[in-house]
Symmetry: C2
């Protein structure tokens, strides 16, 4: 992992083979899934030799796992920071929280930016059961879902504590949907903007949670 080049001007850091492979892995695995991507596809995509995958990562599967782990933790961290940011503001509300949690990832997926397909990756992982799903599940539950349930109860009084986990689950379902079916959204509702979509989701989930509190 050397850095002979002085990285003089415009080029935004020429990555080494290791990171180029991780980038190509993210793009290709997210789009086509583990089995549908060959090592040769990865290496030509990353502009390096076939042997690089085994040299740097010890195999195709290890590269996949490493890529997944990084994306996964980035996602969890992003959500947690968004929650903390809202909750430390003067007048936190359920709507502000929902907006803060939903907006960044939705914006990424609608603009086809990097990291916008993490949830697709996660769903694919659950479907394929490649990585030990215990690890993923425990992380999501303990780090993210429990925290979400906690702030929901802080922001909305009267929520039944024993139903909080289910509420967070359904909230997750609402978020997940546009991630999986974004193309469907854009074909079915032409001209749909990020703001319209997020506004709808915030309204939908907020109504659901507040309705839950009243009964």
């Amino acid at each position: 992992m050397s850095n002979k080049d002085h990285n003089s001007s415009e080029q935004p850091v020429p990555e080494d083979a290791c990171n180029r492979l991780l980038d190509a892995a993210e793009k290709l695995f997210c789009k086509k899934g583990f089995h549908a991507v060959s090592v040769r596809e990865l290496t030509t995509g990353a502009g390096c030799n076939i042997a690089a995958v085994n040299y740097h990562f010890g195999g195709k599967e290890k590269l996949y796992t490493e890529m997944f782990r990084r994306q996964f933790e980035t996602m969890i961290q992003g959500h947690l920071e968004a929650i903390d940011r809202v909750m430390s503001e003067p007048n936190p509300s359920l709507e502000k929280l929902l907006w803060a949690v939903m907006e960044p990832p939705i914006r990424r997926v609608m603009n086809n930016e990097t990291g916008g397909k993490i949830l697709r990756l996660l769903v694919r992982e659950v479907l394929d059961q490649k990585i030990d799903s215990e690890y993923i599940a425990r992380d999501i539950k303990e780090k993210l879902f429990d925290r979400l349930g906690q702030v929901f109860m802080e922001l909305v009084s009267g929520l039944p504590e024993e139903k909080i986990t289910l509420i967070v689950m359904s909230f997750d379902g609402v978020i997940l949907h546009p991630f999986l079916f974004m193309e469907f959204y854009q074909k079915t509702i032409p001209g749909l903007t990020v703001e319209q979509l997020i506004e709808h989701m915030v309204k939908f989930v907020a109504s659901a949670i507040r309705g839950y509190a009243k009964s």
Copy 2:
């Protein structure tokens, strides 16, 4: 496709190789995905020779497509019939409708019955983009989602028509979630019953929709 056997007693119709292959395809493709299942796995699972896949269907891909088409249409039909059943009853309500649409598939997936993994298959298909997703999307939209939006408006007055599609989308997200993460549900909420889960989802979605109507 002969039927020499008189199908005398207890055996519930010994299927021919064609249908045995379709059954094995449903089970294996749903569980592991297209690329992760080999033709040899399929044929040994169906109890027939390797060549049978190419003889009867013309290849692995054709078998997959045929299996998907059948499962997909079965699902759509089941939902439409549930909707019509509720709407033709004396006092239809939003809650009754939601319950009727959600209960059968959720019960199937929680009891690990056949057909309980259709939605997993559909999501996998969207992720892998193997079948022309135009066809799937158009079918779901025109046959199912439009009908759902229509009955939502009949049952709840004051719903903004331009938001109906988005509402149906989020409703779909809530349904989809336990399909994808049923194991997660059962580990996170031990002793969760079908009734509890459906009751929650009905309450969540009904609150969301009614809250939408009020604003």
